[in-house]
């Protein structure tokens, strides 16, 4: 999609919004609000047949409550066990006083929108879990071949904590372990990388969130500035991905991109594959680093406020994104080398569309002015994203919908 055209088309009507969006969720007037209930929620997959939770016109602003935060030390999940867990972890909240927790517990217990256990699983295996998702939002007139612009107006945690977990065999420490011969590097580099320590046991670390100061209290000496974003934002995947695509791996439809840049003020552009686009979101994060190396961010429950804008006939092959300062292109592949290559190719394509640069100019510019970051290495399909700084295009006028303060 030509981002410039996009901005020209919509800049006029949204000046007021640009001012409002700097403030918190409650101050942005939404056209429609989606609560987190057993009916709106869906666990760990995208469905093309689930009843829409909202049907909206292009331009509509939708507020969506996400779930999360329900961690407990095994046994039956009840209000008592959950409250005990909160107390143990020094969290000043109870299920009764925290709607997000009560809603999440109800969803986990009651929702029918979950996949059955795999056919080869032993009898008695519970139904599959996975990301706590909400959707779909049906966008009127959206058809395959269009693209959907998702403006992220606000993302705010609903609970005063989040948790970060890891387990043996997961995360960045198990990367490339199937190719130990690559240690014989061409450089005969010394000292050689020793075998990675594996994660010895599952762990989960709770971080308290101070929303007033926008900080996560990692421990008594360490505070992390929050950058809440939704790990998963997706249009319903194409039929070629199967009827109930699991949400773990990101794809051309977006999904579990886990890109830390997609905070309030950013925009995600997604291809439309199904009538109505069928937008899903979930996997609430309070903050994450590039790489997401344990396999999780600070996982929490967020409310997000999104504006959906439909671009008829503007076909996209891959997701793209934009922040007030950068254009973002993605590369996705199980092999990080190939994800990097795709991110480069996406960048060259974008620079050609946007600025008319031939391959040599685009390639050259990508080498000297574009930053490639590791998005995540933990979602089976790994991600690299390219950050193309807007400021290098010195003749462009800034008409982006949001101005960072």
């Amino acid at each position: 999609m030509n981002a410039l055209n996009t901005r020209k088309a919509f800049a006029g009507g949204l000046l007021a919004l640009a001012v409002a969006s700097a403030a918190h969720a409650m101050e942005i007037k939404a056209d429609c609000t989606v609560p987190f209930t057993p009916e709106t929620a869906i666990l760990g997959h995208f469905s093309s047949t689930k009843e829409p939770v909202a049907t909206v016109k292009s331009g509509a602003i939708v507020r969506i409550d996400g779930g999360g935060g329900v961690r407990y030390g095994g046994g039956e999940l009840t209000e008592e066990t959950m409250d005990a867990w909160l107390k143990e972890n020094g969290i000043d909240a109870t299920v009764a006083t925290t709607p997000a927790l009560a809603e999440t517990m109800k969803v986990l217990k009651e929702t029918k929108n979950r996949l059955p256990p795999p056919p080869n699983a032993p009898p008695g295996t519970p139904a599959a879990g996975g990301h706590l998702l909400v959707g779909p939002v049906y966008i009127e007139d959206a058809e395959p071949g269009d693209s959907l612009e998702v403006r992220i107006l606000d993302v705010t945690p609903r609970i005063p904590y989040g948790s970060t977990s890891g387990s043996p065999g997961r995360g960045g420490l198990s990367l490339g372990m199937s190719a130990p011969e690559s240690f014989e590097s061409a450089s005969k580099a010394l000292p050689l990388t020793p075998p990675a320590p594996s994660v010895p046991r599952p762990f989960s670390k709770v971080t308290l969130l101070d929303l007033k100061r926008n900080a996560g209290h990692f421990d008594k000496d360490i505070e992390i500035p929050l950058g809440p974003f939704m790990g998963v934002m997706a249009t319903c995947p194409p039929d070629s991905e199967g009827p109930n695509r699991r949400s773990t791996a990101p794809g051309t439809f977006g999904g579990n991109l886990d890109c830390k840049e997609l905070v309030a003020g950013s925009t995600l552009y997604l291809p439309v594959y199904q009538k109505g686009a069928l937008f899903y979101t979930g996997d609430s994060h309070a903050v994450q680093g590039d790489g997401e190396v344990t396999g999780s961010a600070i996982e929490t429950a967020d409310t997000c406020t999104l504006q959906f804008i439909l671009h008829k006939g503007q076909k996209l092959a891959m997701p793209r994104a934009e922040t007030p300062t950068d254009y973002i292109l993605f590369g996705l592949d199980p092999d990080l080398n190939k994800a990097m290559k795709q991110a480069i190719e996406e960048t060259l394509g974008f620079l050609k569309e946007k600025q008319g640069l031939d391959i040599f100019h685009a390639y050259s510019l990508s080498s000297i002015a574009v930053d490639y970051h590791v998005t995540q290495v933990v979602d089976r399909v790994l991600g690299v994203h390219a950050m193309v700084p807007k400021k290098i295009f010195v003749n462009d006028t800034n008409t982006y919908w949001y101005r960072a303060r």
């Binding site: 580099a189 600025q355 490639y372």
Partner: protein, 389 residues
């Protein structure tokens, strides 16, 4: 002998350079100026056998001229400069022409580097701290090039290209194309030390976890610090591959290759043993992962980060891993130097009880530099190794 001559030459050059130093009002005085003249250059490799061109004491400051000879052809070296309107009488052009004439290729493919510098007292087991006090472009142009078969998309570059990019040095920007300007952010692609003698001559093309070299890390510009684990007496530091700007990834195989003068302070650290190179900026700690496989480079960067957080911040494995996931950014350094790189950016600001940023030697806001260096304590490590030297 060669060494002493070079120092005398350098002392004379300092006198000449004094004017420029006074103009920029640098908060330090330079002890030596190492020029990029043929006798001060090494072509393509690091080796413990390369005679040093300068001997310095720990804490001393050296201004080092480096060159990027791209564009100038061997058969007609002046043609490139004439064709591109670059004055032949520029000092850096004269240096490039003299080096083309007088420094034959070594047979080892790599960079044209200035050095090596012998740092007195540096012994295996020590760490060489390299502070980058200043770095400036020496020429008003740079070159970015690429070719089929290499770089980030080796099969998609139709033919070799070399793009000459002019700079506006007053505004510190590269004039890439109509409507596109890139802020200059100079750094040295290669900063490295000699390997232990038995490893022979190592090409400067790939970066190495211990001796460093071709990191091509865009953050290693003014105000950054590089820590290298010393492998041989005197460390034997070399630098080259000057860059005017580069993105994370350096995907075409080159940055804006351009000639720089870099001012560095060298400090022998007996108190900071490391196995793998690390770096630091006013705002971040940087840990590095290097491997021919990007996946493995990523894992190594994670492991280096865990080790750093354990060592410096006392975090246990789980906390370090969790912090690595939520508070540290992993970026692609480069994918083009045979051995690829990923670096972890660990923000100092998250350590709220520490004064990591405010006790750093450079304050970018005020420009203030604290370059006082305490005499190195008598080195236990060096004494133990004395017999082996």
């Amino acid at each position: 002998m060669k060494c002493r001559r070079a120092v005398r030459a350098a002392a004379a050059a300092v006198a000449l350079a004094g004017f420029a130093v006074a103009l920029t009002a640098a908060p330090y005085s330079v002890n030596y100026h190492l020029r990029s003249v043929p006798e001060n250059m090494v072509s393509g490799y690091f080796s413990a056998d390369t005679p040093p061109v300068l001997k310095i004491k720990s804490g001393e400051i050296v201004e080092i001229d480096t060159i990027s000879g791209g564009g100038a052809r061997d058969d007609d070296p002046t043609k490139f400069f004439k064709d591109n309107g670059i004055p032949l009488d520029l000092e850096v052009v004269q240096d490039i022409l003299a080096i083309k004439k007088a420094v034959p290729p070594s047979g080892i493919r790599g960079h044209m580097m200035t050095g090596p510098i012998f740092v007195e007292g540096a012994m295996p087991g020590d760490t060489l701290e390299v502070r980058i006090l200043d770095i400036k472009s020496r020429a008003p142009y740079g070159i970015n090039s690429g070719r089929p078969g290499s770089g980030g998309i080796p099969d998609a570059v139709p033919r070799p290209y070399a793009k000459v990019i002019k700079f506006d040095l007053e505004r510190n920007v590269a004039l890439f194309a109509p409507g596109i300007e890139i802020p200059l952010r100079q750094f040295q692609g290669v900063m490295g030390i000699a390997p232990a003698k038995e490893r022979g001559k190592l090409s400067s093309t790939p970066p190495y976890p211990d001796i460093g070299g071709n990191f091509d890390n865009k953050y290693l510009g003014k105000g950054a610090t590089l820590y290298l684990p010393v492998q041989t007496e005197g460390a034997l530091f070399q630098t080259g591959d000057p860059h005017a700007a580069q993105g994370n990834g350096e995907i075409s195989i080159t940055a804006i290759e351009s000639s720089n003068t870099v001012t560095m302070q060298f400090i022998v650290r007996k108190d900071l043993p490391i196995k793998v190179a690390r770096a630091e900026t006013p705002t971040h700690y940087i840990c590095m992962g290097l491997d021919v496989e990007l996946n493995v480079a990523m894992r190594m960067a994670i492991m280096q980060t865990l080790e750093f957080l354990k060592e410096k911040k006392g975090l246990d494995f789980f906390d370090a891993l969790a912090l690595g996931s939520v508070g540290v950014d992993f970026e692609v350094t480069q994918v083009v130097d045979q051995t690829k790189g990923i670096h972890a950016m660990i923000p100092k600001s998250i350590f709220v009880k520490d004064s990591d940023a405010s006790t750093y030697w450079f304050n970018p806001a005020s420009g203030a530099m604290n370059l006082a260096v305490s005499e190195p304590a008598p080195a236990v490590v060096a004494a133990n190794l004395g017999g082996a030297q």
